[in-house]
Symmetry: C2
């Protein structure tokens, strides 16, 4: 189960009725935050999530609306007596940017581990979550993130019995380990001896800020949830979207049409876009399942029953 | 007339129901902000004040809850196409701290002029407002601020006539200028020839974060409005107040009792202080006019009629 909360849906500046775009994920006791603009810690409290156990923080890019809440968030995490390390992932320059912001948060009771992204596509695995960072097209270096929970094949006890695999080893084979039989040195058991084909896991893709580049639809292919920026609604703003390297809501919907995710949420609305829902009809003409959420939209994604 | 709005009343971290402590002032078209914690720009929008014309920003000290909102505020001011310079006042290190935070707000369409405070008491005059910065007692260097609008004596047209001062010069004398008569070189008119004694002006004193030191009551003497931190209410928190260099609500009230301001507002409540109003009775036993405001409390201070 992957708990998801889109803490805010705004771009550029926080507003009284709309926090900056930021995403919280929780899987198996591990908590991830994607982006941390000004007031994200307030949005997190409103959503009843705690800052203390943020284990991983992914930053898309270093425009202020995506990282200006960092010093305050770090202090709040520290005030909660956190001592476990925090892993931060972001484009090249991460450590320099974070340390510069920490001029007002110099002392923290926990270490920060920095992972800086350099390639167009990078893959990481943290606490059972496979993370793919993929380069977007924005005014500065910016990455989208794909989060995947892989799911192995179904364990078949009948096959295990037939192959006379000792019962105490079943659990480890089920977890994917390759094991030598302790009673019969040289005898090796592999997971494929007892597992069926890998089953569909969970996939969430998050892309902001960017123009609609093909990599987004590739990464979001068949995702359980695809969250994508849509800065402007009014068709007259196309030139502005291109100039500022953002997307129209309809451009994002076209990406969804190509990717065919199970669920599709828009976010990162311009402060000038007072009522994104007015464009729902246009967006759903392109991708009928599109949702234009408000702050705090949440969902729990579960594995398909099999 | 001095417009005053206490944008937030919280300390340490912003909460869904309480913004960080910050003060807006407006006098004669000039706008001042004192402190700029995370989400202050949201609080300002809720109070219907505009960020574009912030002319002067005074920072008390460099703990994050008093300056973490600065990069976002600067960008919002820039996005409003501001080009007029911003004057920033704060303890020594101001330029270094601000430039470090500006790693995420490097390009602004307006210049910033820095005024760094070094002495225990410093006086400035900006746009008709006399500002006195006075050193407080906190864990780091921290200043309180006194804002004064001085008011000259009443103009006496009868005396001006008796002294045969030409009518076209009256207005400049009234403004406080010393003038040579253009028709009679060597003949000098001074304001005291036509003005009565200086009248009571306006005085606002703002003190946070600090222990209750005597300078606060000295500066706040007879103020029109004295705004003072009061971090804790529960008498059991006295040791914590001393350790963290903050004040009990009752300690702040004792300062008010000494200073005898016309109005007294408390602020900078601890996140643990859910209902400051529960301590109103205790505080008013010491200073009956005390107010424990909520975010957005505002008032317009006017000169006494004379």
């Amino acid at each position: 189960m992957l708990d998801v909360c889109l803490l805010g849906t705004g771009g550029m500046m926080p507003l009284p009725y709309r926090y900056l775009t930021s995403l919280m994920l929780r899987y198996n006791g591990v908590q991830l935050l994607v982006d941390c603009g000004e007031a994200t810690q307030i949005a997190m409290k409103e959503a009843k999530w705690s800052a203390k156990p943020i284990d991983v923080m992914c930053i898309t890019h270093y425009h202020a609306d995506h990282i200006s809440g960092l010093p305050g968030m770090l202090l709040t995490m520290g005030n909660a007596d956190r001592t476990e390390p925090l892993t931060m992932i972001g484009p090249k320059g991460l450590e320099r940017v974070v340390n510069s912001l920490r001029v007002i948060a110099p002392e923290l009771p926990f270490p920060i581990k920095f992972i800086e992204l350099n390639e167009n596509i990078e893959q990481l695995s943290l606490a059972g979550i496979d993370i793919t960072a993929f380069r977007l097209q924005h005014k500065v270096t910016c990455y989208g993130y794909k989060f995947e929970i892989k799911r192995g094949g179904r364990f078949d006890p009948q096959r295990a019995k037939e192959q006379e695999i000792p019962l105490p080893l079943w659990h480890r084979l089920q977890k994917g380990e390759t094991i030598e039989d302790p009673a019969q040195p040289g005898k090796i058991y592999t997971p494929d001896m007892v597992l069926g084909p890998a089953r569909r896991g969970l996939k969430l893709v998050y892309a902001t800020d960017t123009r609609p580049v093909p990599v987004i639809a590739e990464q979001a292919q068949d995702a359980d949830l695809f969250i994508c920026e849509g800065m402007y609604g009014d068709p007259e703003k196309v030139a502005k979207a291109k100039e500022n390297k953002h997307m129209m809501l309809t451009e994002a919907a076209q990406l969804a049409k190509q990717a065919q995710p199970r669920r599709f949420w828009l976010t990162h609305y311009s402060p000038s876009l007072n009522h994104p829902e007015e464009y729902e009809k246009d967006v759903r003409k392109i991708f009928p399942e599109a949702v234009l959420p408000k702050d705090g939209r949440s969902i729990t994604l579960s594995f398909d029953e099999e």
